[in-house]
Structure formats: C-alpha cells, structure tokens
C-alpha cells in the first residue's frame, strides 16, 4: 500500500474555508446592526437616506422615553421571576419527585412553546380583561366587585410572557438538574437529613450557578419580548421598548432615528446580560458534569406525589388547555361574553376566516417559510456547528461568537436593522418571502446551533477521529459519519426551527410585504382591525394547520430515523 504523502507546509484549505464562512457570517449578522447604529446617529432630516448629518441627539432625547425603559425592565424582571419559579418548580418535580407519568409529562412540558405567545396573549386577553374578560365576568356574577385579575397590568403582561416565552427556563434548569450526580443527594439523606433539608442545603446550592445562568438568559429574552406587550399593553397605554419602536416606525412620518436609538439602548443592555451569562457558564459549575446524563432515582415523596402531579397538570391546563378552550369559546360567538345567549352562537367567524384570502395565503406562506427555514436551517446550522465545535479550523471561536451574536439582539430590533439595510440593497428581495427567510435564518442561528451542537457534543469525538485515522478527508467524514449520527438531533432541530419560524412576530411584522404575508402578523392585524371573535377563529385555524404540518413532519422524520443494517 503506498504511503500517503510527503511532508507539506500548511495547506491554504482550512484557513480559506474559515475565512469564507467567518466573513459570510459576519456580514449576515452585523450588516443590520451597522445600519441600526447608523440610523440611530442620524440627526438631520429623518427621511433622508443616507443620513444627512450624524450626532448623538437621538440618544440625548431618550430621556423622554424614560417611562418606557422603566416599563420594559419592570415587566422583564417580573416575568423572569415568574418563569424561573415555574421552571424550577417543574424542573425539580419532574426530575426529583416520583410523580406518576414523569416521562410523558416531560414531553408535554414543551407544549406551551407550541401554543405561541400571541395565541396565549389573545386568549388571556379574553380571560382577564378587567371589564370584558370571562374570568372577571364570572367573578362579578358571583357577587365580586370590579375585577379579579387585570391581565393588562404589568403583572398580567409578565404572567403571559412567563407562561409562553419562559419555557426555556424549564429546559435549562431541567438540564442542570439532570446533570447532577444523584449520589450527592443520596449521601445527604443517608446521613440523616430530610428531603426538604436536602433540597435546601444540597440541591439548591449545587444547581445555583445553572439557575443563575438560566435567570440571566431568560431576562435577556424577556427584554426583547413583543407579542404580549403588543396585545395586552398597547390598549392600556403601556409601552415597552419593542412596541414603542414598532409604533414609531408605523406612523407617518416614521421616526426611524428615535426608534433606532431606543433599539440600540435595549440591545446594549441585552448584550451586557448575555456577556455575563456566557461568563457564568464558561467558568464551569461545580456540579459534576461527566458527560453522562444521569437518570436520577426519584425521591419517594409519599402522598405528596399526587399533589405534585396535580400541580403539573394544573400548569399544563393553564398554559395549554385554557387558552385553546377560551379561543374556541370566543370564536363561536358573535360578541364574545362569558354568559352568551343561545342566539349568540355562530360559525360565521370560521366561514369568514376561511374565505379571507389573507388567511389562506398567509397560512400557506407560513407553512412554506417554516419548512424552508427548517430544512435550510438544519443543513446550514449543522455544517456551521461542525465547523465551530469539531473541525478545529482556525478562527472557530470567532465564527461561534458571530453566529451567537443575534442572541443579544431583540428580534424586533434586528428586523428593524434589516428593514433599514435591505431597503437599499441592490438585490430586490424586499417585500418577498426571501427576506423573511434570511431574517429567520439569522435570528434563529443561536437556537439551531445550540440544539445541534448539544447533540453533536454528545457524539464521542473518537468516532470522527477513527474515521480520520482510516484516511477520510473532512468532507468524507462529515458525510459518512457525522451527519448520520446527528440525524436524530437534526430532526429535533428541524421541528424546533419550523415552529419557531411560524410563531415569530417581532421579526416578521416589520418585514412583510403584500406578497409575503405570514400568519402570525396577519392575526395581529386582524386583532387590530376586526373583531376578537374573528381573530380567535383565525388563531385556532393557524394552530390546527401547524399541528397537522408538525404531525406530518414528525411522521416523515420517524421514517428517516430507521436504523441501518439488518
């Protein structure tokens, strides 16, 4: 067998690949940011493009909006607290207590993410509006005074945010809990400490760094939240930075510079948060993470387990069942109320919704776009994850930083920068689905890379190294070893990207065009300009269509997962 090669100096190959990938990523991610900052510094005629004059006047003028920044922080803090408490409680219950049906419950915990924040906000608006909300109507019928809950207050908005955008807290804390060696708790119990004391003295301190990291991450996400504040806050004169930006650019004359300055301010805060978060997780925690996921033996909590089971079901009820039922209830009435007369029931809303071309084309566009995001996203992000975490190419750290950067930018702000930037880009993609696709792929890059790399890092590096030792080049390895092993993770990432794309509001509401309507902003438009009942019908139709599409995708994916060999 002939020997392979003579000695050679550094090949240009790896460096060139890094350069190209790094350069393309940097352009994709930073182009909108650059334009965002440029817009914020424009102090001349706001309509002039490129800006006439530059200055810091817009930032100086941000003092006017101090109450909006205060609102944003207030709501984000409350929502984070809610989300972490919920996430910790659910995480602890499902990983430590012997609640019946644990595995099934864990899977079901992903459902609030699929309900989407917009639907959740719409439903809770119907439930908790101070005057017209169903719950408050019931309260008054029972003799109460005024209203029981006010979903349009900051606490109400934060509650909805936590329920539907805070599920990432559960995922992160749950992961931390799972990676803890159960022997640490068992040792405590053997030495005589009770269950509660063990949780307080052993579990809590050990998971604290992970929980802290999750808290910061969730807080950063909440700062950029849009849907809940739009649906619930706007009617109550309650603005946060994202909704204020949206309002400022939706008027005539649009106030791009001011909106841009607000966006940059918010982005700066989020950037600091994400920086702190990365410092925390990179320093490593003192929870032993050996790379093996423990399946901790659940503690026997006695009769308490039924109560905890009820708590889990209660959470799912509030987050999933209640919103869907509420929307269903409202969608079949002419004028939605808690105690309708028989004559109030009608199917007209569904008839109208189905006949609205906006609904049909928007739904179709959303499914199409979701599919494209999922497929292209998975291929792209799989390739990029491999480059960052496995290829040992030079500059991998830079590429990772660039691609994770959108995490620090609220999605609406990012879309704003894209809007401003792509309006003048020579390729005529403004107002088309292509622009939305590019936007989605960019803002979901961190999500996709995180998911795929999580799976990738679980694959033993030696599986790729042994392929190397058999003589395979990196392209051959990627094709024959890495990709097939990644398949389950890739499929999970594809489904995640699909649903993230369909539920996205902040990015799409600014970038839509007449031919590029997608369903979530269309539902918002309907909520603003038609009746609540019709909007409820549209929202349910969307959920149904998406559920069917997901089921279809999942079935296709299961077939693709067939084991090879016999």
């Amino acid at each position: 067998m002939e020997r392979f090669t003579r000695a050679r100096s550094w090949r240009p190959g790896p460096s060139l690949v890094s350069l190209v990938v790094g350069g393309a990523s940097a352009v994709l991610v930073f182009y909108p940011i650059v334009y965002l900052v440029q817009a914020s510094l424009s102090v001349g005629d706001p309509q002039a493009r490129p800006p006439e004059a530059y200055g810091l006047a817009n930032y100086a003028g941000l003092g006017r909006y101090a109450h909006i920044f205060w609102n944003t922080v207030l709501v984000a803090v409350i929502a984070t607290v809610f989300a972490i408490i919920l996430g910790f409680a659910m995480g602890w219950i499902l990983s430590r207590a012997n609640v019946p049906g644990r595995e099934a419950l864990e899977q079901l915990m992903a459902l609030p993410y699929y309900v989407t924040p917009l639907m959740g906000a719409l439903a809770w608006s119907l439930i908790g509006s101070p005057s017209g909300g169903f719950l408050n109507q019931v309260w008054r019928a029972l003799g109460g005074d005024g209203h029981l809950i006010d979903i349009t207050s900051p606490y109400g908005i934060a509650w909805v945010m936590a329920l539907f955008e805070g599920s990432v807290a559960f995922v992160m804390i749950g992961a931390v809990m799972k990676s803890m060696d159960p022997a640490l708790e068992e040792a405590s119990q053997v030495l005589g400490a009770g269950r509660f004391r063990t949780m307080l003295k052993i579990t809590l301190p050990l998971v604290m760094p992970g929980v802290l990291g999750a808290t910061i991450f969730v807080f950063a996400e909440m700062l950029g939240s849009f849907s809940a504040a739009l649906v619930l806050g706007l009617p109550n004169r309650f603005y946060v930075v994202t909704t204020a930006m949206y309002q400022l650019v939706s008027q005539y004359p649009p106030r791009f510079p001011q909106a841009a300055a607000m966006g940059v301010a918010l982005f700066a805060v989020m950037f600091v948060m994400v920086y702190i978060y990365r410092r925390i997780i990179s320093r490593g925690t003192y929870v032993t993470i050996t790379g093996k996921a423990f399946r901790p033996r659940a503690m026997d909590v006695g009769r308490l387990r039924w109560i905890l089971f009820g708590v889990c079901l209660g959470y799912l009820g509030i987050a999933v069942v209640l919103p869907v039922l509420t929307l269903l209830y409202a969608s079949v009435q002419r004028l939605a109320t808690a105690f309708p007369r028989a004559a109030n029931f009608t199917l007209a809303n569904y008839v109208t919704a189905l006949s609205l071309d906006a609904v049909r084309s928007a739904l179709w566009n959303s499914l199409l776009l979701g599919g494209a995001t999922a497929v292209l996203g998975v291929v792209l992000m799989g390739f990029l994850s491999w480059i960052i975490y496995r290829s040992r190419l030079p500059g991998a750290g830079f590429i990772e930083y660039v691609l994770m950067f959108p995490q620090a930018v609220p999605r609406l702000v990012f879309a704003f920068g894209m809007l401003w930037a792509w309006l003048v880009f020579p390729i005529p993609i403004y107002g088309t689905l292509w622009l939305l696709l590019i936007a989605y792929l960019t803002v979901f890059m961190p999500l996709g890379i995180r998911t795929i790399s999580g799976v990738m890092l679980q694959i033993d590096r030696t599986l790729e190294e042994s392929a190397q030792m058999c003589g395979a080049s990196w392209g051959y390895r990627l094709r024959t070893v890495t990709m097939p092993l990644l398949r389950p993770g890739l499929i999970a990432a594809a489904l995640l990207l699909f649903i993230a794309s369909v539920r996205e509001l902040g990015a799409s509401i600014l970038l839509m065009g007449p031919k590029a309507k997608v369903i979530t902003p269309a539902i918002v438009e309907a909520w603003f300009s038609t009746s609540t009942e019709l909007t409820a019908a549209m929202a349910l139709l969307q959920t149904l269509a998406v559920a069917l599409a997901l089921a279809f995708l999942f079935a296709v994916a299961r077939r693709a997962l067939r084991p090879v060999g016999e």
Binding site: M1, R3, F4, T5, R6, A7, R8, S9, W10, D460, T462, L463, E465, S466, A467, Q468, M469, C470, G471, A472, S473, Y476, T480, V481, P484, L485, P563, V564, G565, E566
Partner: protein
Amino acid sequence: MTVSASPPTGRAAPIEVRDLVVRYGTVTAVRGVSFSVAAGEHLTLLGPSGCGKTTTLRAIAGLEKPTAGEIRIDGAVMYDAASRTQVPPERRGLSMVFQSYAIWPHMTVFDNVAYGLRVRRETASDIAQRVGWALDLVQMGELAGRSASKLSGGQQQRVALARAFVFSPSVLLFDEPLSNLDAKLRAEMRVELKELQRQLGITSVYVTHDLEEALAISDRIIVMRDGIIEQVGTPAQIYDLPRNAFVADFVGSANLIRGRRRPELDHGGFVVIETPGGALIHGVAHGRSAGSEAVFSARTVHLQLSRERPAAAHNVWPARVRSRVFQGDFTQYHLDWDGRRLVLRCVTSEPVAEGTDCFLSVDPRHCVLLEE
C-alpha cells in the same frame, strides 16, 4: 487462529520522535520526549494516568498538535516545529485502535471494517476479499452483516482491530484498547493481539497503564511519568533492572531499602549498603554509580521466608510476620524488619501465622542498585 490466503501486508515503517513537547495552555503534558521505533517492532508506552503517554501517541497520530519537536514516519516528516509542518492524520498512512473502540453504530460490521478501503477507493471485490480476511483473522467472520450497535464489548474490540489493519497501514497505534474489557477477556485478547501483531509484522505503538499487558506483548517498553521518559528497555530489562524508585515500584511491586554505602565490603561485582538498623545488604550495581547513600530495590517475589535459617552467606536476617494477606495465587506477607516494614509475596503453601518469628533472605543478584 486460522490463516487464510492473506493479501500482502504493507511495508512496516520506522518511527522517530525527537524532543517532542506538547502544551495545552498552561499545562505541559509532554516535556521533551525522544525515542525511535524500528520497523515491525512493538513498542509500549507505559505509565500512570497523566504521564503523557496518550498525548504522545495522539501526537504521532496527528490528532494533537505539538508545541515543539519533530516526528518522522518512514523518514518522512510528519511534524516539524521548525518548518511549521503538520501533516493531518488522514494523510499519514497510520491506523489507530481507540480505547472506546469508536465503532460506528449506524453501520454494519462489514461497513465499519470496509471504511478505510472505501476511502482509498478500492474495488468492490477487493474490499469484499480483504474485509473477509480481516474479519476471519479476528474471528468475527460470521457477524459481518450485523448492525454494529448490537455488539458486545469484546466483539466491538475485534471489529475495531480488524478495521485498523485491513488496509495494511505502515503503523498501528493502540490507545489502551483492552482497558474496557473484564480481566479474563483482557488476558485472552492480550495473547491474540500479540500473535496478530507478529503475523502482520506492522510497527505498533501501544499505550497502556496495565503492567502485565505491557510486559506480555511488548518488544520494548518506555516507562513515562509526568511527561518525561523514565526508562526504556525490553520487558526483562525493565523488570529486572529498574533505573529508579518510580520504575521499580511501578513495574511490579518492590521494596526500596535505603542505606549507607560500605564500599570497603564490596566484592566480586557485588556492592554493599548498611541500613540504619545495621543490616548489611549485598546487591548488584549493573554499572550504576552510587554516592555515599544508595537505594536497593528488592522485588517482593524475590524475598524468601523460612522458619529455619537458610544456608546462604549473605542477605539473611531475622524478621517477624506482622500480617498476612491471602491473594489466591499468591500470599502477601508484611514483615517487621530493621525497624520498618517489608512486603513479601510467595506462592501460597503452608501459611505462616502472624506474629511468627522467621528468617528473611534474598539472593544478592535480586537486589538492584537504583540510580539516584
């Protein structure tokens, strides 16, 4: 092992490693290591965990990027710090068996073994023939069609082996391939490995922390600690003539006895030391020099215990049995001697009760002077 018509093996290549340094951030795992491996030789890198043996192996493979030094395989430069050359692993023509076997679960046994051949674009018939030969050699011929995810540990190990040598590499690298097997299987595989290596005649570099394994299969052993080489030699040399305390105690169990040199008592090639307790020990120096103080190494299996005083001229002393540990094939005794403990191992015969006074003796040829 059946030997079917064997395709021609590749030409075994010599390896040369010079002044190798490997640094990770602030930690230096390998600190200036030089050795060479002759073509067809089986060299083992032996040492405790963290000594740098695996790092050295992976540097030869190309999976680690060293900081300084030079690596040549068959005369060709694979790594050279001076000219900033680093040939990627897939182009070095080597092969490797991993500790975790790294069998690809999504392929069949056949596909796993055929991988290297497919990379080299062999024809389908050639592939079929060679894979068949390789699998037969490791006695996995019947399981060629099985999915790799359904193999036991031992089976995976064999497949990993077959995969490694099927394309006749010039060098085979082993990274603790048997450490995940149970003791019995390990012992069996050891023998098979040795025969296989001899039959194929490929240059092998083998990493292990298991002493028995190293002694059983190596042509030469390099003992490493903390990133440097402690001793190089054949198994017999390492065992019989350890250079220092570390090697002495790592390669088999040994008693280390320190004492003052009594050069005036030296005779006939033997040297003498006097312990603090006044006992005189005669031993061999093997050309090693010693200062005023010296240390002898006496293997636990070379010490002898007897009730009556043996008839030797030197190295006989009284001792008391402090404790006895039954270990199956041998029994280990802890003795009080010269104000300290000594450990002795002997084949289990009539046990000597604890507290018994007896005589301890050792052949002077089995007391080895250590380098300081």
